[in-house]
Amino acid sequence: MRAGRPDIPALVAGLAILALGGVLLLDSLGAIELSFGWFAPLACAVVGAILLANGLARRE
C-alpha cells in the first residue's frame, strides 16, 4: 500500500455518498421522514461537494 497524501477528492466523494446513503437508509427504516424538499438540497450538496473538491484538486 502506497503511503502519502490522501486523495482528497475521492475522500470527499466517498464521505458525501456515504452520508447520502446513510440518510436514505434511515428513511427506508422509517427513522426519519425524508421529503423531496429535504432530499433535493441533500443531493445538491453531495454533487456540489464532489465537484468543488475535484475542481480545487485539479489545479494542484
Binding site: 424538499g37 433535493a40 438540497p41 445538491c44 456540489g48 465537484l51 475542481g55 480545487l56 485539479r58 489545479r59
Partner: protein
C-alpha cells in the same frame, strides 16, 4: 486563540484582504486563501443574505474573527475544467443551502429570492467575463519577424471563453427579469412594452445598419493598421540595430569606394522602405528624386552624399529643374571637394523650396569662374533663374563651398 496565531496551519493563513476589498475584505481574503474566484464567495454571501439575512450575520462574524492583513501569497485561480468544476460545485452547494433555508421557512418569497439568485449569478458571470476580457498590456515582441500564432490562439480562446461567460450571465439576468415578471403577474403588461422596444430596435437597426457596419469595418481596419505599424516599428528598430549599423560600418571602414557606395545605396533604399516612402528614383516626389540624384553621384564619383529632406512635395517642371541643378551642384562638390563628404539639405514649406549643397573642399572664387565653366553658369544659376528661382554660391578655403538653391512658392514665380 486568534486565527492568525498559527501561521503554519490552514486557518492561520486566512486574512482579510484589504487590497481587494469591497467592504472589509472578508470575501477577497477567503478567495485568496482557497484559490477561488472572489466573485463566487461574494455571490455566496449575497445569496445567504437573501435567504433569511444569514449572510450579513456570517459576514459580520467573519469580520470580527478573521484578522486583517495581506494574504501571504496569491494563489492561481483554477482555469479550464477545474474552474468550471469549482463554479458548478459552489453553485450547487449554494443551491442546497437555499433549498434547506426554504424548507426551514427562513425565506422571503419565491418571486423575490429566485430572481435575486439568478441576477446575482448572472452579475458574477458578467463581472468575471469583463475582467477576463480586459485587454492585456501590449508587450513588445522580442522577435518580430517570427509569427507567434500560439499566444494569439490562446488570447482568442480566452476572449471566446469570456464572451460565453458574459453571454450566459446576461441570459441569467434576463431570465431573472422574466421570472420576476411572471411571478408577479406583470409579464403580460411587460410583453407589450418589450414588443414595442423590439420593434423600435429593429427599425433603428435597419436604418443605422450601414453606419454601424462602416464603423465596425473602420475600427477593424484601424486596429489592423495599428498592429502593422507596431510590427513595422519593431522591425525598423531591429534593422536599425543590426543591418543599418553594419552598412554604416562598411561605409566607414571599407577602403574600396565602390563597396562604400554600394553600402550607402543599400542603406538609403532600406531607410526609404522603412519610412514607407518610395525608393530613390521611384515616384514623382522631391525626396526620392534627390535621393536618386545623390545615389547616381555617389556611384559615379565614389564620394558619400548625405541627403536630408524636410517637407516633401510633388515634382513639377520648376522642382524638376531644381533637382537637376542640385545634381549638378552635387557633381561639382564630388569632383572638386577633395573627396570630402557632400551634405544636401532640402526644406520645403508654404513659402517655397530651398536646397543647400555643401562640401568641405578647398573652395574657389565664384566671381573668377572661367567662361568655359558652363556647369555652374548654365546648369545651376541659369536653370534656376529660368524657372523663377535663384542660386547663390558661397565659397572659401576655410569652410568649403555651399550652393544655395531657392525656388519661391508657385504663386510668387
Amino acid at each position: 486563540m486568534s486565527a492568525g496565531s498559527h501561521p503554519g496551519t490552514r486557518l492561520g493563513l486566512l486574512r482579510r484582504d484589504r487590497s481587494g476589498r469591497w467592504i472589509a475584505g472578508v470575501c477577497a481574503g477567503i478567495a485568496r486563501r482557497y484559490g477561488i474566484d472572489a466573485a463566487l464567495v461574494r455571490l455566496a454571501f449575497v445569496i445567504a443574505t437573501a435567504a433569511g439575512g444569514l449572510g450579513i450575520a456570517l459576514y459580520a462574524l467573519a469580520w470580527l474573527v478573521i484578522p486583517a492583513g495581506d494574504a501571504p501569497r496569491r494563489r492561481r485561480l483554477p482555469t479550464g475544467r477545474g474552474a468550471v468544476e469549482v463554479a458548478l460545485g459552489t453553485g450547487l452547494l449554494l443551491l442546497s443551502v437555499l433549498l434547506a433555508f426554504r424548507e426551514l421557512g427562513l425565506w422571503f418569497s419565491d418571486p423575490v429570492v429566485w430572481p435575486l439568485v439568478l441576477i446575482a449569478s448572472g452579475g458574477a458571470l458578467i463581472w468575471r467575463g469583463s475582467a477576463t476580457a480586459a485587454p492585456a498590456p501590449a508587450e513588445a515582441p522580442t522577435a518580430p519577424l517570427v509569427r507567434k500564432d500560439e499566444p494569439e490562439r490562446q488570447r482568442l480562446a480566452g476572449v471566446a471563453a469570456a464572451a460565453s461567460r458574459t453571454g450566459l450571465g446576461i441570459a441569467l439576468v434576463v431570465a431573472a427579469g422574466f421570472a420576476f415578471l411572471q411571478a408577479t403577474g406583470a409579464l403580460s403588461a411587460a410583453r407589450d412594452v418589450v414588443l414595442t422596444l423590439v420593434a423600435v430596435v429593429v427599425v433603428l437597426g435597419a436604418i443605422s445598419a450601414p453606419w454601424i457596419l462602416r464603423l465596425v469595418r473602420s475600427l477593424t481596419e484601424e486596429r489592423t493598421q495599428r498592429i502593422r505599424s507596431q510590427e513595422r516599428a519593431e522591425m525598423a528598430a531591429h534593422l536599425h540595430d543590426s543591418v543599418l549599423q553594419t552598412l554604416a560600418l562598411v561605409q566607414r571602414r571599407s577602403g574600396d569606394p565602390q563597396v562604400a557606395a554600394l553600402a550607402r545605396r543599400q542603406e538609403r533604399e532600406l531607410r526609404a522602405w522603412l519610412a514607407e516612402r518610395p525608393g530613390p528614383g521611384r515616384g514623382s516626389r522631391l525626396e526620392p528624386a534627390l535621393e536618386a540624384a545623390a545615389a547616381a553621384v555617389e556611384e559615379s564619383h565614389g564620394v558619400p552624399v548625405e541627403v536630408v529632406v524636410v517637407g516633401d512635395r510633388e515634382l513639377d517642371p520648376a522642382v524638376e529643374a531644381l533637382v537637376a541643378a542640385t545634381r549638378e551642384a552635387m557633381t561639382n562638390a564630388a569632383k572638386f571637394g577633395a573627396g570630402s563628404p557632400v551634405d544636401v539639405y532640402a526644406e520645403s514649406n508654404a513659402g517655397g523650396l530651398r536646397v543647400f549643397v555643401r562640401d568641405r573642399g578647398p573652395g574657389f572664387d565664384p566671381s573668377a569662374l572661367p567662361p568655359d565653366r558652363r556647369g555652374v553658369r548654365e546648369s545651376i544659376v541659369g536653370r534656376m533663374r529660368r524657372h523663377g528661382g535663384r542660386a547663390t554660391i558661397t565659397s572659401s578655403p576655410e569652410t568649403g563651398t555651399e550652393v544655395e538653391l531657392e525656388l519661391p512658392a508657385r504663386s510668387d514665380r
